[in-house]
Amino acid sequence: MKRRWNWPLWTGFLLALAGLFSYAVFAQFPITRDFPWANLLLFASGGILLVLGLGRAFGRPQVYRGKMFGPILAVLSLLAFTLFDYGVLYELRQMPASAGAPRVGEKVTEFTLPDQNGKAVALTDLLSSSDGAVLIFYRGHW
């Protein structure tokens, strides 16, 4: 008898891949970037399906396929999940201490730097012509 296709294995694997690669999309929106719950949900669904698929493959090998490629897909999915965890839950949180950064109540240090049009901009000029300023430091390298 021809054994049946073990769809949860493949679907689970695809969900794990989606969990990894969809971060490029979900990282665009603060709600799915501040905490990557959408990606973790994809990984979790993938994991459940993989466990189900492996259960079928090993529990009823006469009916379902997947004893060979099931573990391979499971290991690859686990690798994708580990890579995601390392990148998003560990690497992004490695911040310098910045103990000497200016604090609330302190006077800001004056500086002058060229803007995007090459024109020199002094912080004092900007402050004197407005109610205040929001100074945003970016990682850059766009």
């Binding site: 800001v108 995007q116 900007l126 402050l127 205040g132 100074l135 970016y138 850059g140 766009w142």
Partner: protein, 95 residues
């Protein structure tokens, strides 16, 4: 206004792409970034020194009213947080 280690032409391209109209300052040697103790050594592509993400609200007299030093590069201050800090600062100034 914004500061990054990118040269002005890169910032200009980025501003045009994103529609940013505020001053986008260029600090290629990370001098101001260092002075603010925000340097993240080797965190850029190819091990370049870059700034960690950080936001400061400064009032017209140059006093810092609000600081946000994120613990996660993916989590930045949202506009409403900054506006709230600004409103609270104005309320205090009015008293």
């Amino acid at each position: 206004m914004a500061i990054s280690v990118d040269p002005p032409e890169v910032s200009k391209r980025h501003c045009q792409k994103m529609g940013f109209t505020y001053p986008f300052l260029s600090d290629p040697k990370a001098e101001v970034v260092r002075r603010f103790d925000l340097l993240h050594p080797g965190a850029g592509p190819g091990g370049a020194d870059i700034s960690r993400p950080a936001e400061f609200l400064i009032d017209a007299t140059g006093i810092i009213r609000w600081v946000n030093l994120t613990e996660n590069a993916a989590v930045r201050a949202r506009p409403e947080q900054v506006l709230k800090a600004f409103d609270q600062g104005s309320a205090q100034a009015d008293r």
